[in-house]
Amino acid sequence: MVDNIVHIEQDRVTNTVSNDYPDTSISNAFRRIMISEVPSVAAEQVYIFNNTSVIQDEVLAHRIGLIPLKIDPDLLNWVDNSVDESDKFTDANTVVMTLDVSCTKNPNAPKNSTDPKELYRNSSIYARDLKFEPQGNQLENFKNPIEPADPDILLAKLRPGQEISLRIHCVLGIGSDHAKFSPVSTASYRLLPTIDIIEPIRGDDAKKFQKCFPTGVIGINNGEAFVKDSRRDTVSREVLRHEEFNGKVKLGRKRNHFIFNVESTGAMSPEEIFFKSVRILKNKAEYLRNCPIGR
């Protein structure tokens, strides 16, 4: 299905090219599924034992919920909501994390300091302060350490005497339920831009023509402009504003060439998310085929 994965920037962004695929709807289905139906793990229940900070319980809980967690969703089962509240969460479907911090004065702080980070200990609470609390045989099951995808997400700020003590239950969920369960920051595609130079553009015009596009799109060969890499074009349609290029160029998009851009939140690699979306679509098709109405 997918021809080639062009490149991976860091471990977040992938540009995947799905080439010459017959239909937009399939590509769109992948995009939609990646955003809203690929499951991932996020904090769902926050049990607050103590919170004397200025940030309110609901807001703190909301912030914690939005932290992307590095947990392989395949290792967890779905929480069965029909089960009684007390037995609902088991080591098979829930990851427990805790946050126990209190802010104190730093006795070794430099005299004239006004920086809270120097004056106090634990003045800023970050996502890294969330600690995994293994339940049952989770330690063996989870090979990778369980931690937030980005340790530097600010959760709250404290001042001496304030403390936060809470416990969170992280469960499986899907993006259509809440954005925090979406494994991608965004998943989208664009169509490959095409630039057709109908009449040759030469000389100073060529330079001007080149400037109408992002760098690298148009090359100049012997004073004549040629399309070097139309993939880099953002289609700002700037050329069309200039009188002199009237009728000389035609901008377009290749309707069956999708350039995917999947930006993972960090729990899974973008490829993984993409392949999961393929599997989900496949399962859906399977289900439809076996559906009694379909026959």
């Binding site: 937009t24 309110q56 954005a179 595609y189």
Partner: protein, 1152 residues
């Protein structure tokens, strides 16, 4: 001397200069200024006078502040006016003992002796504890005890509510750290009072100017009249000079009929007809012709001497005096004190008053000849603004007078008793009444009813509760001006925008509907004057060439220009222009107060000098020889903090002009407009707008009503309220969880610190139609955005409970919680702690108790038999469709040791269907649908909008500013900069388009989007980018209401009305008409009776009256009694009719 202001973060404030009040180095945010780069400007940046002269504006605001008018006015009242009042009511004498006297020497507020400052309760504690933020008023007195004269210093006569941040307030000059330690917000403007825990503002009142002649004409009735409202400390009265059948009369409330003007002038000592003619008409033949008829009137009555004239008037005076005066004395009294009361007569020298009346008459004669000589009542120069200080001073004088009369009565009572054992000490009696002043002031401010006995004035609605909906609404309230005009009158004049409002009053900020144009707002740079001394100015005028009025003979009075000081003629001058420029030079060099205005009115041949308070004025740059006096090096020094705004005034670079003087000047808008004629240069054109309208980006591109709508809506936006918002316990508080400063700011936004306390979020908007749920301005919201915190807000609601004490020594108590058998608390008491109060952080649902209060059952009993100690539970139960969380619980005591419990309940709300949003361009809309992110369109980068707005909102509204905001905002986002949308300026569209282009976007801000549903490209390019959206306080959760069965009103047994009473939904008259027209009679019966107040009655078909239990009480039998249903309201009507001796008899028959 300007008190220290917290606003020093404004660009370029001064460092400490000489003078008593130095700007404290501790001013924290001031340090920001010393950073090498501040708000994108460097200290070493090149200075361009044309562009950088706007830096004078922050400098002005640093010194004056937005609410400086209020503070100045209050400071003036406390420091100066109080002393004047004491002086005017200096002595209390006794009718009984002629030797007794008590004399007030001095008065102070706050400090008992000039040395120590009194420790007042901090304002925030007053807010929380429902107390009044006040300081004691001390007087120094001198009085007699027996033969001795005793001095007593620091006698407390009451408490004065203190305006926050005035010079008597403990926040005056406080550093940010001090403010924080007092739980105060450093950005809070102050200027309000705290009375019984509520913040009260005394709105600025607009009035016609006092002690000035106003000439009006009624074209239809052929009436011309000159009137003057005289206002002194003792009385207020209005004197008219009117025409009636072409003759001129004087009219006054306490003179029973109109008096011919010639008689009045004769009574005032101008006996010669010739002199009258000279004074009124000068040598103008036309005037003389039309005035001549008035002499006949006088001759007809046979009055030729002053005594005759005085007797004539004396006979017509309505007297209320106890001591009887002769007719002549009455006449003298009338001329001396009642007519034109603001001029005082010494030694029966009526000359000044006669001149005044003659000049009034002259104005009438002039207006009769030339209708253009009529004054415009709506002209801002003829208006005076009354501020808190003036109103407080009126009230205080009234209370002080009452205090003194009570005191005197008390002393008289004691002195009258013969043979006292000890020597009488007056001070022992003074404290008995000391409460009067305190309660009087408190009551007036908390109710807003200003009742002044001496003016017989009764004014309601003077004060308002400071609206804390948002920072802007509080700020907007401080600059609000309310007019005395009746709202019902159908004249458009007072409501219309006056050209003279330019730069003084905001052109956009006025409410819609009833109060439109009557409630106004100050512009950004306005200042309101306080009273100044007249006497030195008068002397100065004589020194620089004004001929004194007393030495001018009547014949030559009108040959030269008259010089008027506060409306009263003080002399004439032959060279008015020279005199005026001389005077102005003196003002510019600081020899006279900068707020004194002088201008020439050539139509009246007059030079007017005004020193009175309440005039609106604003600073302007002086132009000399076609060149602005403010040069680059001045601005550089300003930026470096070496100069302050006041220095610009002192050096004569900038001066204040009031509306009248502005009319005498030629003001250039920009430096390029300077011509030879120009006298002044505008500091910054965007100061025509006020603080609230200043939030709008690109307002000069919008249709004007849209800006007005936004001014009303900006005050309803939810955002951050103050830095101390989490410490406040207000009745209702709306807060936004993640407020953002706008991408497109304006200079005003920075000046008023809206960027520090914002109310809104930058939403990515796609202007397109989507789903059909976006008709009629409805918005489409992105669910993922909401999940991530867009538009999330908190609602905090206060509940106050007082634990009462009863006369029999019982009191209310809070009981603990009730538990079930297993030790768990019951559902009702689930959130309670063992102390009977809800625990902070717990959730309360509908039906749960959060204050478990009990009151004694025997509260009315006497102390004797209170042993039982029985209590009845009166818990405070939470009732609302959605649960809340306990945010704060406070237990304290208020003023009179009353125990007070305040519980703050918190709800966090995410936007839902029907919540109201608005951009900053008067474009409001409700959320019509919330759409999943994957269904929304996305652009090449995968960005999907937070909000989709329907393009139909644009053509008819013509809010081009909103489009510019989008483009500038988008450029700012891509460029990583905050862009400006300042009025008459702001980021240039060309530049913005260039940035878009450079970043690979289309120059017009239109992107190609893909449909999220089909995945195909959309057929049109979509206008796509960030717009600052405000969430307004109107939320569905507070409005939703439905009812099946429910409570009914006691009297009529019909369903109650309104959501708060769980009322029914009314099928009104028009709906009823529809049902009738349709012919659905059974539906009508059901709606109007069965579902409402159906009632079974027994009706006797014989007598037609109602009985009961199948028995007719009037016929004494049960034979003809028929049971039927009628509306209870009908039954009630019949009974009410019976009670007034009308017998409604029902005759029953079969319908079918």
């Amino acid at each position: 001397m300007p008190p220290k202001r917290r606003n020093s973060e404004l660009k370029n404030g001064g460092s400490s200069r000489g003078g008593k009040h130095q700007h404290t180095a501790t001013d924290d945010s001031f340090n920001e200024l010393l950073q090498p780069v501040y708000k994108g400007k460097q200290l070493s940046d090149e200075i361009n006078t044309a562009e950088d002269k706007w830096n004078l504006l922050p400098a002005f605001l640093k010194v004056k502040g937005l609410v400086k008018q209020h503070l100045d006015s209050f400071n003036y009242f406390v420091d100066v006016d109080l002393k004047k009042i004491i002086k005017a009511n200096e002595k209390v004498l006794s009718d009984v003992d002629p030797d007794f006297y008590i004399k007030y020497l001095d008065i102070r507020v706050g400090e008992a002796s000039p040395a120590a400052r009194n420790n007042m309760l901090p304002p925030h504690e007053c807010r929380l504890r429902d107390m009044t933020y006040s300081a004691p008023i001390y007087v120094d007195v001198e009085y007699t005890r027996g033969r001795k004269i005793i001095m007593h210093k620091g006698l407390e006569i009451g408490k004065m509510p203190i305006m926050l941040r005035s010079n008597k307030c403990i926040l005056d000059g406080a550093s940010e750290a001090k403010m924080a330690s007092l739980n105060e917000c450093p950005l809070d403007p102050g200027g309000y009072f705290i009375v019984n825990g509520t913040e009260k503002v005394i709105l600025i009142q607009e009035q016609l100017s006092k002690n000035r002649i106003i000439v009006e004409a009624d074209e239809k009735k052929q009436i011309v009249q000159a009137s003057v409202t005289s206002s002194t400390h003792e009385r207020k009265s209005k004197t008219y000079v009117v025409t009636k059948n072409d003759k001129i009369y004087l009219k006054h409330n306490s003179i029973s009929e109109e008096v011919p003007i010639v008689i009045v002038l004769k009574a005032a000592g101008i006996i010669s007809d010739l002199e009258i003619m000279q004074l009124v008409c000068g040598d103008d033949a036309a005037y003389q012709d039309s005035f001549a008829i008035n002499f006949e009137e006088c001759a007809k009555v046979g009055i030729y001497t002053q005594q005759q004239a005085l007797e004539f008037i004396g006979a017509k005076v309505k007297t209320m005096r106890r001591a009887k005066l002769s007719i002549l004395q009455e006449g003298i009294e009338a001329i001396a004190t009642t007519v034109i009361a603001h001029l005082t007569v010494n030694d029966l020298d009526f000359r000044e008053k006669a001149l005044y009346i003659a000049l009034m008459t002259r104005r009438v004669v002039m207006a009769m000849h030339n209708p253009k000589m009529v004054d415009d009542r709506d002209y801002v120069g003829n208006k005076r603004l009354e501020l808190a200080g003036q109103l407080m001073s009126l009230l205080f004088e009234d209370l002080f007078k009452k205090f003194n009369t009570d005191f005197k009565a008390n002393i008289d009572k004691i002195l009258r008793k013969p043979n006292r054992a000890t020597e009488f000490d007056a001070l022992l009696n003074i404290n008995i009444h000391s409460n009067n002043i305190t309660t009087g002031l408190n009551r007036a401010i908390s109710t807003g009813n200003w009742s002044l006995k001496r003016f017989k004035m009764e004014r309601a609605g003077v004060t308002h509760v400071l609206s804390r909906l948002s920072y802007i609404s509080a700020l907007g309230m401080m600059t609000r001006i309310s007019s005395q005009f009746e709202k019902s009158r159908k004249v458009s004049g007072p409501r219309a925008l006056q050209p003279s409002q330019f730069g003084m009053l905001c052109t956009s900020d006025t409410p819609e509907g009833e109060a439109c144009g009557l409630v106004k707002n100050l512009a950004l740079m306005t200042h309101i004057t306080t009273d100044d001394e007249e006497e030195p100015i008068k002397k100065l005028c004589y020194l620089i060439g004004v001929e004194e009025i007393s030495v001018i003979d009547s014949a030559s009075l009108h040959d030269n220009f008259g010089v008027y000081l506060n409306g009263t003629i003080i002399g004439t001058t032959r060279f008015p222009t020279k005199f005026v420029s001389l005077f102005r030079n003196l003002r510019r060099t600081g020899k006279v107060s900068e707020f004194i205005s002088i201008y020439i009115n050539s139509h009246q041949k007059a030079v007017h000098i005004a020193t009175d308070g309440g005039r609106i004025c604003r600073p302007l740059i002086i132009i000399e020889n076609g060149e602005s006096k403010v040069k680059a090096h001045h601005l550089l020094k300003l930026k470096q903090g070496k100069l302050q705004f006041d220095d610009f005034l002192k050096q004569g670079l900038v001066e204040y002009l009031d509306v009248n003087e502005e009319n005498d000047c030629y003001i250039a808008l920009y430096e390029r407009d300077i011509t030879e004629k120009a006298t002044h240069l505008e500091i910054e054109p965007f100061t025509v707008l006020g603080a609230v309208a200043g939030l709008i980006p690109y307002p000069h591109h919008n249709q004007s009503p849209r800006n007005t709508y936004q001014c009303a809506m900006g005050k309803q936006a939810i955002g951050a309220i103050a830095y101390n918002q989490f410490h406040r316990i207000d009745t209702l508080l709306y807060l936004m969880v993640y407020p953002q400063q706008p991408m497109v700011k304006s200079k005003t936004i920075e000046l008023i610190d809206y960027d520090k306390l914002p109310a809104g979020q930058n939403a990515t908007v796609a202007v397109m139609s989507y789903s059909g749920y976006d008709i009629e301005d409805a918005l489409v919201l992105n669910k993922s955005s909401i999940d991530r915190g867009f538009g999330r807000c908190q609602v905090l609601r206060k509940n106050t409970t007082v634990l009462k004490r009863y006369p029999n020594h019982t009191k209310d108590i809070i009981a603990g919680m009730r538990v079930k058998d297993n030790g768990e608390p019951t559902f009702q008491h689930a959130s309670l702690g063992p102390d009977g109060l809800a625990e902070v952080g717990t959730r309360v649902e509908s039906g749960q108790v959060y204050i478990n209060k009990s009151i004694p059952t025997n509260a009315a009993d006497s102390i004797m038999n209170q042993d039982t100690g029985e209590y009845r539970e009166t818990p405070v139960v939470y009732k609302a469709p959605e649960p809340s969380y306990i945010d704060q619980v406070m237990m304290t005591t208020s003023d009179n040791d009353q125990e007070l419990i305040k519980v703050l309940l918190r709800q966090t709300r995410r936007p839902e269907l029907g919540d109201k949003f608005s951009s900053r361009h008067g474009q409001k809309g409700v959320c019509g649908i919330i759409v999943q992110q994957e269904d929304l369109p996305f652009n090449d980068d995968g960005i999907s909008p937070d909000i989709i707005m329907n393009p139909h909102g644009f053509p008819s509204r013509m809010t081009v500013g909103k489009m510019l905001e989008l483009v500038s905002g988008k450029a700012g986002v891509l460029n990583g900069s905050l862009e400006y949308g300042t009025c008459f300026g702001g980021s240039d569209l060309e530049d913005m388009s260039k940035i878009l282009m450079d970043k690979g976007f289309n120059y017009s801000g239109k992107d190609m989007l893909y449909s999220g549903i089909t995945g195909e490209c959309l057929q049109a390019y979509i206008f796509f980018g960030p717009i600052y959206y405000q969430k307004l306080k109107h939320m569905v959760l507070d409005k939703m209401h439905a009812r099946a069965r429910g409570p009914r009103a006691v009297l009529t047994r019909q369903p109650t009305e309104g959501r708060s009473r769980d009322g029914g939904l009314r099928l009104g008259e028009m709906e009823r008409d529809c049902v009738i027209a349709y012919g659905a009679s059974q539906l009508l019966l059901e709606r109007l009776m069965i579902s409402s107040d159906a009632f079974d009655v027994d009706i006797c078909n014989k007598c037609g009256l109602m009985g009961y239990n199948g028995w007719c009480t009037s016929c004494k039998n049960a034979e003809n009694v028929i049971r039927m249903q009628i509306p209870y309201a009908a039954k009630l009507l019949f009974q009410e009719l019976l009670s007034m001796n009308i017998a409604p008899r029902l005759k029953l028959g079969d319908v079918f």
